[in-house]
């Protein structure tokens, strides 16, 4: 049993890799078998992630310091590859597994039949996400980024159609350029420090001087820039709205965690480099400014747009902006609440992306755009015929009531109104910011944060109030949609998870505060990685 637990950190990477590869070998007709493998793999990832969550909290005494190190090649750090699990990565892994499972179940209703290799690509995307959260090595971070991006290129095109292909083209071009930036920065950092291991890097970066220091800072700045592109920070996020809003519903849902990978990487590397005098993009002022601009851009975009799927994409931007702004504040007081906000906002936008598609079925094209705009821009129906109408399924009674209730819940969650977890998240974020303002000598930043978050919330209320009234109270022609349990279920489960998050806010925030505190003590992480012994030397050769 102990053996199985020791190898736990590799499961979130190995399981989707094996499942995805196995599904490639199956003929396209064996849909049920593929769906079964996909579901099984996602369930296994969830189980592994929850196990890691418990282990990182110190359960069983496997990792007393809360940091677990796994050496896949059995070479000691910094020479071999390391996977590192701490509370933050375990939380992100669990979030990925939950969202992945929900999106996968939703896709079984019909999306997985609209293109080839959906299930394999989906598993590879999860593998890339899990790997990026686990790796303790800069180059492997790049490799896992590429794995998840390559899978996302396939998924964003899933279902095909003109809108998806031309949005996908831009998405791919931007992300390829960002990957080049990442490579340049990795090469620069390696050239100066001679290491790619994050823990070793944190040790060596502090000892650099003179021109080496300058080169290192240049490398770190480019690195930060690459992560900001992935995180969707303004002005590097113009690809996001078009790409996300044209992706198919389950893909959009699972994409809502992809921008968080950039934020995770900024947080992780920022925390390790902070004691060495974090360079440029990782320094807090920059993150704060970028976050604030992103937040404002998202709020304005939310008010300006009228299509629901674009509104949700702007919500993803607002969420990224709020997180960057909060993480850009000095100290760790805001980090715990920010992580809680991350959990809540990812679950919400995931549910929202799936809900949109169900809502779209109730309406004929154009009902979601103000009549004036329709005339002004002379719009045609851009949707491919695979979009709605031809769905057959068991009609759930009171489908409209479910849609309305789900929409209201999502809107409440996004804007941060009580009683759901969105409110708890924003309240704890704001109260931490106010406490920060009262105790700090320069309270201006904290007050700006409070004002911006509240203003973005107000923009959300206005935008979704307007959209909701048009959808549910308008006089347009409307058909009562047929919903399947497969489709309504995941949306309901994600929203119920947010309810559970609100109910269990105490223990969850305690865990996240612990995660934030351990980020403030990078020495724990560094010691754990550098002192990890290969298994064969433990056996005494």
């Amino acid at each position: 049993m102990i053996d199985w637990l020791q190898h736990a950190p590799i499961y979130p990477i190995a399981v989707p890799l094996i499942a995805g590869a196995a599904m490639l070998l199956l003929a396209d007709k064996r849909r049920r078998l593929r769906a079964g493998i996909g579901l099984l793999a996602s369930l296994a990832q969830l189980a592994a992630a929850v196990t890691l969550l418990a282990l990182a909290a110190g359960a069983g005494g496997v990792w007393p310091s809360g940091v677990g190190v796994y050496l896949p090649g059995d070479w000691p750090a910094p020479f071999g590859i390391v996977l590192v699990v701490d509370r933050l990565s375990a939380v992100m892994l669990t979030l990925t597994a939950v969202l992945g499972l929900a999106s996968l179940i939703y896709s079984l209703a019909r999306w997985d039949r609209l293109g080839v290799h959906f299930h394999s690509l989906f598993q590879f995307l999860l593998m890339g996400l899990n790997g990026a959260f686990l790796t303790g090595d800069l180059f492997n971070l790049f490799v896992f980024f590429e794995v998840l991006l390559a899978a996302s290129y396939g998924l964003i095109l899933h279902g095909s159609g003109e809108a998806r292909v031309s949005a996908g083209l831009q998405y791919i071009a931007v992300n390829l350029v960002a990957s080049f930036l990442l490579l340049i920065s990795i090469a620069l950092i390696y050239g100066v420090t001679g290491t790619l291991n994050l823990a070793d890097l944190a040790l060596r970066a502090g000892a650099l001087g003179g021109s080496d220091r300058l080169l290192f800072e240049a490398g770190a700045a480019v690195l930060g820039l690459a992560f900001l592109v992935k995180a969707g920070a303004w002005p590097l996020n113009f690809w996001l709205v078009r790409g996300y809003s044209s992706a198919s519903a389950p893909v959009g849902a699972v994409f809502s965690i992809m921008t968080k990978v950039g934020i995770y990487a900024l947080l992780r590397i920022g925390s390790l480099l902070l004691p060495t005098g974090a360079p440029a993009a990782f320094s807090l002022d920059w993150m704060f400014a970028a976050g604030l601009a992103t937040l404002i851009f998202g709020a304005i975009g939310l008010l300006a747009t009228q299509r629901l799927e674009k509104q949700v994409s702007y919500c993803v931007i607002i969420s990224a902006g709020t997180l960057l702004t909060a993480l850009g504040m000095p100290g760790v007081r805001l980090t715990g609440p920010a992580l809680f906000y991350l959990l809540s906002s990812v679950l919400t936008t995931g549910a929202f992306f799936m809900l949109i598609e169900l809502i779209e079925r109730t309406r004929t094209f154009g009902a979601n755009v103000l009549a004036v705009t329709l005339d002004l821009f002379d719009l045609d129906d851009p949707e491919s015929p695979n979009r709605s109408d031809d769905v057959v399924g068991v009609a759930i009674p009171a489908a409209m009531a479910f849609l309305g209730l789900a929409f209201v819940s999502c809107a409440l969650l996004v804007t941060g109104l009580p009683p759901l977890s969105g409110f708890v998240a924003k309240f704890s974020l704001l109260s931490a910011a106010v406490a920060e303002a009262n105790s700090s000598t320069q309270p201006a930043d904290a007050w700006i944060l409070v004002a911006a978050v509240l203003a973005a919330g107000l923009a959300g209320i206005v935008a979704f109030g307007r959209t909701g009234m048009r959808i549910f109270w308008g006089n347009d022609e409307r058909t009562t949609p047929r919903l399947r349990v497969f489709e309504a279920g995941p949306v309901a489960v994600l929203i119920l998870l947010c309810v559970a998050l609100a109910a269990g806010a105490g223990p969850v925030s305690a865990y996240l505060d612990d995660a934030a505190r351990s980020l403030d003590q990078p020495a724990l992480y560094i010691d754990a990685v550098m002192s990890a012994n290969p298994a064969r030397s433990q056996g005494g050769h």
Binding site: A150, Y153, L188
Partner: protein
Amino acid sequence: MELIYAIAIGVLAGSGVWLILRPRTFQVIMGLTLMSYAVNLFIFGMGRLVVGRPPVIDPSITPDPAVLADPLPQALVLTAIVIGFATTALFLVVLLASRGLTGTDHVDGRESES
């Protein structure tokens, strides 16, 4: 040697950036390819430019770092080439699909007004 190497990277990267900013998809993919060449050369250069030193340790002689080249950037560059190659191929497919669906090779999927 360093100067020529640096100029080569600069020219490749500069041409790549210029091409990426062009409105035709074919120009964009050529730009991405040139940029990936520049980046790969850059990674290689970060392992220091030396001539006549093997990157692989010969077990029969005592290893001395002074006579060996750093093998890691060479390994990194191989990985980067493979990944870059695959993503470029994928981009090419999307480019063709976009051309077929929209009937134009403009990056926006439609010709600009002017």
